[in-house]
């Protein structure tokens, strides 16, 4: 009985004559999901990211100790054990609890960078692509100039001028990471700019502003999401690098890069202080990379083997 | 059949594993070939190219090739080692591909590519290899061999590229040549030139030729015998001179597609494809 329902549901989703827009969309999503879930590594990546979200949401429940206040008297630099799974740091703070809370800062950074950089890139790219001519030439030259810069060093200089802090680190990373999005958005815009349906909208008297906003931007979103996901790992690594150099999150924030920096002094004797946060960074960026690869393959089967 | 048997193909099958199961591209093809010109005709997907590649041993690694008999000069091609197979390829059996734009290595000069074939199969000095390559270029009627020798493939025209391809494949003096649509990618004006050169060299050297094409008219004017393939099977084998009396409706269909001067035909005939021919 239930098997039959599932069967008919599948047929409904895979129908090549969808009766409604919703059915067509769900059907496409279902096909993409089937392609995505056939990729084991991509599923692992998705699982890692879901785990990251869960840990960040439930940090208060999952963390047995405070992330900022330690037991200086009794618990300094303890090795991993039953009471402190990943050991404690030089201020007697439980490293496991700090990593759990640190997941929030990681999410904070990647989400904020994506929210700032992706719209900038989208705007620059679609406007350049739709306007063409000199606007296009100038905007793309600026994009290429930024694309040619060394991102980490430039972010470093930005934070040096703005002053250390996690918000400034986010800003610096965002400023250096929008150009690829502009390139992608422009390429997508160029493919649809001369299509008939855009012509139709033009004939109906829609303003260029409205065309770009309502008819072109939505089309760029899916390829942009793939690219942003693929960039997440790089953003996390840059943020951690800035944190490691003391330019990102400031103590006592439990940001993973800064935690590695504070563990650096004891690295030869108490290696666990630096080891655990680094492993957390590795796992999360691996998750984003696997997820991004999987999304790209699922959404664009042609590039499957690249 | 003129002369001794060069190639014998009996019940050749080429199978590809795909996501939905096994797909047979070639399904039991049989023919034999002497020192003559045999045309294999069929539409795209009929298995004609895969037949040629199976004889060469150039099917993709995932494909399975089986046959009751696949013998070249009494050598069982399916049982010899890959190394032995390789020593036949380019040496005694050669192949010309469709489009010189893609089938010549773009970053190697034409001369080096010709010399490479020769030096793979014969121990000759560099100077001698160069001499023979230049002579070969002359033989395919390239006017200025010394100049073309040092050109890259993109620097010559399609017709010139295909002549270079022929030179590259003929330099070792093979006994069997498989030409897979050798002129389809060329300008109409040079197609005939290239064919004439190929025809002349094949005749002079007494080679066997398998000419694979979708163009029945071309094949019938150029070959001694024609094999018509449809959906991986041979539907008809016939002498080119007797093509007018072809029995099979598919062959007749192909023939009727040809426009003739003086006859206006409306509507244009559509090829009939009956599933039972493929069965």
């Amino acid at each position: 009985m239930s098997a039959e329902i599932i069967q008919s549901r599948r047929e409904w989703l895979l129908s090549d004559r969808p009766a409604s827009r919703l059915q067509a969309r769900l059907g496409r999503a279902y096909v993409t999901w089937r392609r995505f879930s056939a990729n084991r590594l991509a599923l692992i990546g998705l699982l890692i990211i879901i785990a990251l979200l869960v840990v960040a949401a439930l940090a208060d429940v999952l963390a047995p100790y405070s992330p900022t206040i330690g037991d200086l008297k009794n618990a300094r630099l303890l090795p991993p054990g039953a009471a402190h799974w990943f050991g404690t740091d030089d201020l007697g703070r439980d490293i496991y609890s700090r990593i759990v809370y640190g997941s929030r800062w990681t999410l904070y950074v990647v989400i904020l960078v994506a929210v700032i950089a992706a719209p900038i890139g989208l705007l620059v790219g679609t406007v350049a692509g739709y306007a063409g001519g000199w606007t296009d030439a100038i905007l793309m030259r600026i994009t290429d100039i930024f694309l040619a810069f060394p991102k980490l060093v430039l972010a470093l200089a930005f934070v040096a001028a703005l002053g250390p802090g996690i918000e400034n680190a986010v800003l610096a990373i965002a400023i250096t990471s929008w150009p690829p999005y502009a390139r992608i958005a422009r390429a997508e815009t160029l493919t649809v700019r001369n299509s008939d349906y855009i012509k139709a909208v033009q004939l109906m008297g829609a303003s260029p502003f409205r065309i770009v906003l309502r008819h072109i931007m939505p089309l760029c979103v899916s390829s942009l999401i793939v690219r942003v996901t693929l960039d997440m790992a790089g953003i996390i690594l840059t943020a951690a690098g800035l944190g490691f150099l003391g330019l990102g999150a400031q103590p006592p924030l439990p940001e993973w890069g800064a935690m590695i920096a504070s563990g650096r002094r004891f690295i030869l004797d108490q290696w666990w202080v630096a080891a655990a946060p680094g492993a957390a960074i590795l796992i999360v960026s691996l998750g984003f990379n696997l997820l991004g690869d999987g999304l790209r393959d699922a959404l664009d089967p042609r590039s499957g083997d690249q | 059949m003129s002369g001794d048997t060069l190639l014998e193909v009996d019940d050749l099958r080429v199978t590809f594993p795909t996501r939905t199961g096994l797909v047979q591209a070639v399904r039991g093809v049989s023919f034999s070939l002497g020192r003559e010109r045999l045309g294999i005709v069929g539409e795209s997907g009929s298995g004609k190219s895969q037949t040629g590649r199976a004889i060469m041993g150039l099917t993709p690694p995932q494909a399975q090739v089986s046959a009751r008999k696949l013998a070249f000069d009494d050598i069982d091609l399916l049982s010899i080692s890959p190394r032995q197979r390789r020593s036949l390829r380019g040496n005694r059996i050669a192949m010309i591909l469709q489009d010189p734009k893609y089938s010549l290595d773009p970053v190697m000069t034409i001369g080096r590519q010709i010399v490479e074939t020769l030096r793979t199969h014969e121990k000759v000095s560099k100077a001698e290899a160069r001499e023979r390559a230049l002579a070969m270029l002359q033989a395919v009627q390239i006017r200025d061999p010394a100049r073309v020798f040092d050109l890259y493939p993109h620097e010559v025209s399609g017709g010139m590229g295909q002549r270079a391809m022929i030179a590259m494949m003929l330099i070792t003096g093979p006994e069997l040549m498989i030409a897979d649509e050798p002129t389809s990618a060329l300008d109409v004006t040079v197609q005939l030139d290239v064919l004439k050169i190929l025809d002349k060299l094949v005749a002079e050297r007494g080679m066997g030729l398998i000419f694979i094409s979708h163009d029945l008219r071309l094949v019938s004017s150029f070959c001694d015998r024609v094999v018509v393939m449809y959906a991986g099977k041979v539907v008809e084998q016939i002498k080119a001179s007797e093509l007018r009396d072809a029995q099979h409706p598919y062959t007749r269909g192909l023939l009727n597609c040809m426009p003739r001067i003086g006859f206006e035909r409306h509507p244009l005939p559509v090829l009939d494809r009956k599933p039972e021919w493929a069965a």
Binding site: R141, I145, A148, F149, P150, K151, L152, V153, L154, L156, A157, F158, A160, A161, A233, L237, A240, G241, F244, L245, G246, L247, I260, R264, L268, W271, A274, G278, I281, L282, S285, L286, N289, L290, D305, Q306 | M56, L58, R86, L88, R89, G90, N91, M95, L97, Y102, S103, L104, D105, P106, V107, E116, T120, Y152, H154, V156, S157, M165, M168, M169
Partner: protein, 355 residues
């Protein structure tokens, strides 16, 4: 065949000259605007973002008289566009001001430390290319096999691991536990006084002077950070090599090469890789540029006295002139390599020579 191709094939000398000139012109426009862009951004960072650029340069402990003098010296009373003009002019002359920390001109500091970075990044790129290219080729040839999976995972981890963290773990393992490599520095203190470098590349200098004990010591110091950078280059290079090789192996000329009876070895290394080599040059150049950039973090971990360490030390001391000077130099080299690799691509590929 297009009209342009026909002309090129006919050997239209003037058409070719025009094509080359226009390509050169485009290249110049790109180079000039990119460098101007870099200077504009650093100018913005140094002069516009800080509320008081003088304080940013001198720090807040400087006496008032010095602050006033510096303000005039920096030309901060001039309009912004004029300031930028002066800024560009002095930057082109290699004048980035004086470092507060070392009291030397920033340029002379950089000249002193840059060879260390170049040496490190070069060795790293060599390691990455020598291992990464064959791995990528192998992965493409044995596509879908175990080795392909392994290469993929090595690459994925390389993309995901924080470089400074891996460096720290490497120090724990290879320096503290196994004692295979020397402590973080360029040379043992003993040699610091007896060894006089010529070029600033210690491995090269030691070899040229025949001081093999110094060479060995320098090698023990450089190998861990270089291997680390090499791993990052390898992750990128092997992935791109695999992708390029898969693309080449699917081409018709590979079928033709097999039809000629060539061995697989010859086909893979003599034909497919030769074709893939053209884009590979760009990839290797780009990974070299990114290693120069990555040196900022690696050098900090390994106390490697290069430009990266110079920048981070200056950062800690709010020495803005030094930070921006270092940024401009790394940026310039980075951009230069980017542009050069593009040019090299054109030179190496016989297909683009015609125009």
């Amino acid at each position: 065949m297009s009209v342009a191709e026909n002309q090129a094939a006919a050997g239209g000398g003037s058409a070719r000259a025009v094509a080359i000139l226009s390509a050169l012109g485009r290249f110049l426009v790109i180079a000039v605007t990119t460098y101007l862009g870099l200077l504009a951004v650093t100018f913005f960072i140094g002069r516009v973002i800080p509320i008081d650029p003088v304080l940013a340069v001198l720090g807040d402990r400087a006496p008032v008289a010095v602050v006033e003098r510096t303000r005039r010296e920096m030309g901060l009373d001039l309009p912004l566009i004029e300031q930028f003009y002066i800024y560009v002019k002095s930057a082109l002359n290699g004048d980035f001001g004086t470092s507060v920390l070392t009291t030397n001109p920033v340029m002379s500091d950089i000249r002193r430390v840059f060879p260390a970075t170049i040496e490190l990044a070069t060795l790293g790129t060599i390691i990455g290319a020598v291992i990464g290219v064959p791995l990528g080729v192998l992965a493409a040839v044995k596509r879908g096999s175990l080795i392909d999976q392994i290469v993929r995972i090595i690459g994925l981890i390389g993309y995901s691991v924080p470089i400074f963290w891996l460096g720290l773990l490497g120090l724990v393992l290879f320096y503290a536990k196994l004692q295979w490599v020397a402590f973080p520095a360029r040379l043992d203190v003993v040699y610091e006084y007896t060894f006089t470098p010529i070029t600033g590349f210690y491995l090269l200098d030691a070899a040229m002077q025949g001081q093999w004990d110094v060479f060995y010591d320098a090698f023990r110091h450089i190998i861990l950070p270089a291997a680390l950078l090499g791993y990052f280059a390898l992750a990128y290079i092997s992935r791109m090599t695999r992708s390029f090789m898969l693309n080449e192996l699917a081409q018709e000329y590979i079928v033709a090469a097999r039809a000629k009876g060539l061995s697989e070895t010859r086909i893979i290394w003599g034909h497919a890789l030769r074709n893939a080599a053209v884009p590979m040059v760009t990839v290797i150049a780009l990974s070299y540029a990114s290693l120069l950039e990555g040196s900022v973090l690696t050098e900090t971990v390994f106390s490697w006295p290069g430009i990266g360490l110079y920048i981070t030390n200056s950062l800690q001391n709010a020495d803005m002139n030094a930070v921006l000077g270092g940024t401009i130099i790394i940026g310039s080299v980075f951009i230069g390599i980017n542009l050069l690799s593009d040019l090299l691509y054109r030179v190496l590929d016989p297909r683009t020579k015609a125009g």
